[in-house]
Structure formats: C-alpha cells, structure tokens
C-alpha cells in the first residue's frame, strides 16, 4: 500500500517528458495512475522516476478527421471519452466501452493511453483498438513513428514501446458503415472480464471484411483468424456465425487462474466471439 521511495517530476511539454523518460532506465510515465499506482503499491516494479504526463495538452484532445476518422490523445480520460459527442458520432463503441470501464471514480482519472500501454490481458481497450484497426502514434527520442495496433502489443503488460517512447495518440480509421460488436463475460456485474471479444464487420449482404479480436485468452489480444476466414465472403446468418465461432478457440491456450480455468476461457472466447459478430452484423442479441 505504501510506495517505495521514488522521484516525481511534472514536465510542461511532451518533448520534455520524452527527454526525462529517456534519462533513466527506471523512469515511467504516470498519467491517471489507476493501474500504475497499484503496481507501485505492491512493489511489483521498480521505478526511480515518475514522469507525470497527465496534464500535457499534446495528449489531451479528441480530433475528428472530417472523414469519419478520429485521433484520440493518449491522455484523454475514460470520462472524457464517454462524454465526447464527436466520438459518439464517429466511433460510438469506444464511448460505450469507456462508459462501463471500472467505475466513475476511476473513469475520472484513468486514460485511454494508460489502458493501452498497461496492456493487461483482461482490459477493455487493447482488443477493441485492434478490432478497429487503429494506428498508434508514438513519440520518442528518435522522433515520431506509427504502429498498427496489432503490432503494438507484445505480451502481458508489454508493448512495443522502446525506452523513452510515449504513446501520443490513437487514430481510429473511419468506420464507413462497418458494424462493431463488443461482448464481455464479466466475473461479476460490470467487473473484470473472464472473456471478451471485439468485432468489426464490413459488408452488405456478404461479409467483405471482418476482424474478430479476443481478449483474456493470451498475453496480447488475439485475432481469431480461423473464425474470420470462415466468415469472409459469407452471409452473416446466425447459423454461419455460430458455426464459425467454434473455430475461434483453435490454438488457444488461455491461462487458468483464481477466476476460471483455461478451458472455460477458451469455450467462452468462442461464445463472446459469436455474440460480438452477431452484434456487429445487427443480428440477434446474444
């Protein structure tokens, strides 16, 4: 409950933040702190310098691209996502998911960037941003770069960020009429997830493009490619979707822990995948 001794600094600019982060191997960015402070309380990581980025203006805006795309600053809080009219117009699923993330106290502090960079396998946003085909905009000592969301997550609590790099924003491509689905099997009401699937489906009549992304089954979000392959080019009937969802579990070795076994998580991944795709295609509410 008590943090180990550490230093703290609040830079005034993104550039300064990057320099500070690069200055020490044990420097970490601190935004909302709704995950990192727990890590520090339990002394599960050693941090010498906390670089407070929670007020950096460069990270705090939501910009609509005019073409239906949206770029969300990494420092935008869940509460701000929930309240964003722009986001409700362009990517309502993001605002919806933000509105049920943890509780309202946490939503006032926790950020999109924090959620993504903490990369907890049971968290909301990693599978969602992968399903939406998001692009990660990164700033670091070597300048700016981008990464596809899919390539951003490298393991449980691990991302592709290099030392000194910060996630600056997340760009969501325009939905362009695609349907989205997001289903969670929680441990309790609006609680931690035992299983989760996010889906994006594009096409009228037959499925032209489909992305089904599973959370809670591995260290990183997992594309259920076998299921996607079965549905691409098909009519999105409930039977076809149910049939294809059995393939979602292929090759998965989810962990067993205090809440559930790996076998159950695998079975539930298929159920959530089915329901998410049904939702995305406007089918029966699973």
């Amino acid at each position: 409950m008590l943090l180990a001794a550490t230093d703290y600094v609040r830079p005034d600019s993104l550039q300064e933040a990057v320099e500070l982060l690069a200055s020490s191997a044990n420097a970490r960015p601190l935004a909302g702190g709704q995950s990192l402070l727990n890590v520090l309380k339990h002394r599960a990581a050693s941090v010498d310098l906390l670089v407070d980025i929670s007020r950096l203006e460069e990270l705090r805006s939501i910009e609509s691209g005019g073409d239906g795309s949206a770029t969300i600053g990494a420092g935008v809080t869940y509460a701000e996502l929930e309240r964003s009219d722009a986001l409700r117009a362009s990517h309502p699923v993001v605002a919806e998911v933000a509105s049920v993330t943890v509780d309202r106290q946490v939503r006032n502090r926790g950020t999109l960037g924090g959620n993504i960079c903490f990369a907890d396998p049971a968290s909301n946003f990693p599978p969602l941003v992968v399903a939406l085909g998001a692009t990660m905009n990164i700033t670091g000592p070597g300048g700016d770069r981008t990464l596809a969301a899919e390539d951003f997550f490298s393991g449980a609590h691990r991302t592709a960020l290099e030392p000194g790099e910060l996630l600056r924003s997340v760009t969501l491509p325009a939905l362009g009429g695609a349907g989205t689905g997001y289903r969670t099997l929680p441990l309790a009401r609006e609680s931690w997830a035992l299983a989760r699937a996010a889906a994006l489906v594009r096409g009228n009549g037959t499925i032209e493009d489909i992305r089904v992304v599973l959370g809670c089954v591995a260290g990183t979000p997992v594309r259920a490619t076998a299921m996607e392959d079965k549905l691409r080019g098909e009519q999105p009937t409930p039977e076809a979707i149910a049939d294809a969802s059995a393939a979602a579990g292929e090759g998965l070795e989810p962990p067993s822990d205090t809440h559930a076994t790996g076998d159950y998580r695998r079975d539930m991944a298929c159920v959530m995948a089915k329901r998410a795709v049904l939702e995305a295609t406007g089918g029966a509410n699973g």
């Binding site: 230093d7 609040r10 702190g33 402070l37 727990n38």
Partner: protein, 159 residues
C-alpha cells in the same frame, strides 16, 4: 532509506481554502489528507483502489484519493467529507437523507459514498435507481447491502 530527492511544494485548495504544502514524491493523496492535514474522515479500506472508502472530490469529480499522488493534487481543488454540512454540527440535506433512511451502519464507507453521491446529484439531479446503483459501483459497503444507500440518495434527489 530516506526518501530520495523528493519534496515537492504543492498549492491546492482544500475545502475552499488555498493552502501550500510540501509533500514527498511517493506520498499518496489519501495519506496526505489523513496524516499531514489531519483530516481523518477520508478512510482507507483496501490496497488496490477497489473499495472507494478514500473517495474525495477533485475539481468537482469523484476520485479515489489512494489512486493519486499528493503531488498530483498541485493546482487542484479538493473537497473532503469535512466540507459537507453546516459547521461542526450541521448535516446537509444529503446527509440528512442518509440519516432518515438508515443509509449507514458502521459509517466507514460513508464519507466516500456521500462525496460520490454529491457529485452524482450535481450532474444528474434526478437519477434512476439503476443510475444510482451504477454510480456506486466504486464504493464497497459491507454493512448495508446497498439497498438503503440507494434509497437515501433517491430521497435526497427528491428534496
């Protein structure tokens, strides 16, 4: 063992009063409130930010003070339970509603619940039962089973 480097001077408004303090980097806001400011109404019930007993209001929004560093309160306005009610003796209408509807038993979760409820009613003066129950998700109570807490907030909304 001594804290490395790190005393920060913060300026913040505490229950309406502008104050300046020195805080250690690692100090959590809840410990600052309890131990440095000596305001004991904000409570600690867990070590993982789940229970909400430490809930205060920061710039008008409910926040768990154990999930924030004291240093992060610089430039902010915080309100604790001590700011509710009229002086050392008075209860405000929200507190009165809890008293009338038996919305508390041991009282340990109560300050956090009241401050959360205060912000809920400020943004949604007429919440439904479901909205109240959802708003309370971050406040754990082990005594009341929540039913009377919800009824107290409904009664306060109706006033």
């Amino acid at each position: 063992m001594a804290d490395s480097g790190a005393v920060h001077t913060i300026e913040l408004t505490i229950n309406g009063e502008q104050q300046t303090h020195n805080v250690m980097s690692r100090q959590l806001l809840v410990h600052f409130i309890r131990d440095v400011l000596g305001m004991r109404g904000t409570h600690i019930g867990c070590d993982t930010g789940n229970c909400g007993a430490c809930t205060i209001i920061v710039d008008g929004q409910p926040v768990k003070s154990c999930m924030m560093l004291a240093a992060q309160a610089d430039g902010r306005s915080i309100e604790t339970i001590e700011s509710l009610g009229d002086g050392p003796d008075g209860l405000d209408p929200l507190q009165e509603a809890f008293r009338e509807h038996h919305g508390l038993q041991c009282g340990f979760c109560t300050p956090g619940v009241l401050l959360n409820a205060k912000t809920l009613l400020a943004e949604n003066p007429n919440p439904s039962t479901d909205e109240i129950r959802r708003a309370l998700l971050g406040n754990i109570c082990r005594c009341t089973g929540y039913t009377n807490i919800v009824k107290s907030i409904e009664a306060a909304a109706a006033k």
